[in-house]
Amino acid sequence: MTAYVLRRLLWLPVLLLIVSFATFALARFGPGDPIAVIAGQVRDPVVIAQIRADRGLDRPIPQQYLTWLSRAVRGDLGESYAQRGFEVSELIFPRMWISAQLGLVALIIVFAVGVPLGLLAARLAGTWMDPMIIGTLLFLQAIPVMVLIPPLIWMFAVKWQLLPVGGWDGIFALYWIAGVIAIPIPNPHLYIPLVAFTLPGFVGVARLVRITALEVNLEDYVRTARSKGLSEMTVQFKHVLPNALLPLITVVGFALAGIIEGAFFVETLMGINGIGRMTFEAVTSRDYDVILATTVVFASAFVICNLIAEIVYGFVDPRVRIGGSSRS
């Protein structure tokens, strides 16, 4: 087990180095000339050469990368090209916190809704509702996030005026009863983003749980549990669910990818100042140091979460850690 964890942990810095170097090379080498963005109207070659030297852009890319890396590990990600005078790190960290909160809530909802839904769908398998359920799940999964959001905003925020149009106001809001007692409720700002965010995710989880639970339902121990006269709830949650959970750990990574991807659209369309919106703005304004930073942040988050999922999987399923190459 230790060897397995160690192997996975050693893989982490290697991956992060590869990601950051690829990202760095693309951000530096890719665009015709990042100086053109900074210099703007200035065409004076002396000034341009000065900027180039200041930013260290006159040195070879591997050397630039090492400089960037040694600063980045200390939390200094350079200066934004488009928003001059701002450190990338002071722009990025507050936004990361917002996105992380939103993403975590979304991840919880994905599993909290997806798992029971999948169990229910598996219970109804073989009945006349079965094709309808599969069809509905597949259809819900097919709706792109950017198609879903505008109608939701229009309906709930503009037409019925039940929810705010967008923005970010923390996870909890205070609900005042008669102006005296305050109870914390989930912030109404979150409702539309979370629906859009989690729909493809929990549908995907539900489909997977349905398939796994269908197989588990055929096992002898489930039949035994039923024939003992246990209630359906006990059978489902004590006998079927634990055995259907195993494959779910591997999809945490994919659920996370979906949430990272959703962050771009949800944050951009809902006016939430998170890192997804920041990336979108950086891409449209060609702010390469910000793009570089957000990509590295996204990739690291993704790699680390996948790693945690793999380690947990190794704990739960011995077969994984015994096999030499665990990911064939």
């Binding site: 991956l15 590869i18 990601v19 990202t23 693309l26 951000a27 080498f29 890719g30 015709g32 994905v110 094709p131 599969i134 069809g135 597949l138 259809f139 999964q141 097919a142 709706i143 792109p144 950017m146 198609v147 505008p150 109608p151 905003i153 229009w154 925020a157 503009v158 149009v165 493809p200 995710g201 549908v203 995907g204 989880v205 489909r207 997977l208 999809v251 994919f254 659920a255 990818a257 979906g258 990272i260 991807e261 959703g262 771009f264 659209f265 369309l269 979108f280 891409v283 449209t284 060609r286 390469y288 793009i291 957000t294 990509t295 996204f298 990739a299 993704f302 790699v303 996948n306 064939s328």
Partner: protein, 325 residues
């Protein structure tokens, strides 16, 4: 879209398929598929949308670039069945040409990413083993550890200018004109970037299957009879993995189509004036826009949802059919 869907891969139990798939067995799969009403509906949807794409230059009522600023954001009329967009371009024609973009991108990525690169690497890794296998599988590990969409956005955002510049250089040196203005550079970039990320799944599945097949008697005897590696691969291995290839294609089609749409939505995919669902969706996605001209979002949104839905259904049904259900 590498969306929250479970891995777009196909399981490879040895129990699934033991006998080589002959002509008659494909017919069997087709018969099973034909009994599934949802699968047939999805095939019809895909055929209609792809057919629109193929026939776009013939059946589109207007040019997809023809603007008419007298009638911006008009709802459906007798002249423009699906209304017009902000520049007064015919939405029906735009939709048809967007379907064409989807068709071109999915076909190109399937051919290059899945079939060519994924297959070759999978066959090589599985059959040859050794350091080739180790190298390709580690590279695949790296790719699958990355958040695909983020990397795709980065690649397209940074390399766009360079690809355009090099195609322009190619135009100048060969005297062939109109490549840049047709949007070719952006197509090239989108499909090479997508191929870069879509080979891994195919390669892994093919490799796993080849690893099992390699030990089987008919392969061993073919080798003992002195068959060259090429002959073993061509006549003995390839026919045995073809059903996996089909399954994998149907499982990734939606992802490829979705990725192109997402990239273009971000402004780093297919560049205007070329039509794409991503650009259409972006134009229609403002709340104000949706309030005044909902057809700008609903027309492309409806078509995209239908297409992705059909891909999902087909993938599911095909999976069942091959597994004998």
């Amino acid at each position: 879209m590498t969306s929250a869907a479970p891995p777009t891969t196909v399981e490879t139990d040895s129990s699934v398929q033991s006998a080589p798939m002959g002509e008659s067995e494909w017919r069997l799969v087709w018969r099973r598929l034909r009994r599934k009403r949802l699968a047939m509906i999805s095939l019809v949807i895909i055929t209609i949308i792809y057919g629109m794409g193929i026939l776009a230059p013939v059946i589109a009522p207007y040019s997809y670039t023809a603007t008419n600023l007298d009638i911006p954001r008009q709802g459906p009329t007798r002249e423009h069945w699906l209304g017009t967009d902000t520049l007064g371009r015919d939405m029906l024609s735009r939709t048809m040409y967007s379907a064409r973009t989807t068709l071109v991108v999915t076909t190109a990525v399937i051919l290059s990413g899945s079939l060519l690169i994924g297959n070759t690497i999978g066959l090589l890794s599985g059959y040859r083993g050794g350091w080739i296998d180790a190298l390709f599988m580690r590279v695949g590990d790296v790719f699958s550890s990355l958040p695909g969409l983020v990397m795709l956005i980065l690649i397209n955002a940074t390399l766009g200018e360079r690809v355009t510049a090099s195609v322009r250089g190619f135009e100048r040196s060969t005297g062939i004109g109109g490549l840049v203005s047709s949007g070719l550079p952006s197509y090239l970039l989108v499909f090479s970037a997508l191929s870069l990320f879509f080979w891994v799944g195919t390669a892994r599945i093919i490799r796993a299957q080849i690893l099992q097949l390699r030990e089987r008697d008919f392969i061993v005897s073919a080798e003992a009879l002195g068959a060259t590696p090429w002959r073993v691969i061509r006549y003995h291995l390839l026919p045995n993995v073809s059903f996996l290839i089909i399954l994998q294609i149907s499982a990734t089609l939606g992802g490829i189509a979705g990725s192109e749409i997402v990239l273009t939505w971000f402004g780093v995919g297919v560049q205007p004036p070329a039509a794409s669902f991503g650009a259409m969706l972006f134009e229609g996605s403002g709340t104000r826009t949706f309030q005044t001209a909902p057809h700008l979002l609903l027309v492309p949104g409806g078509v995209v949802t239908l297409l992705l839905f059909a891909f999902n259904l087909l993938g599911d049904a095909l999976n069942d059919a091959v597994r004998g259900r």
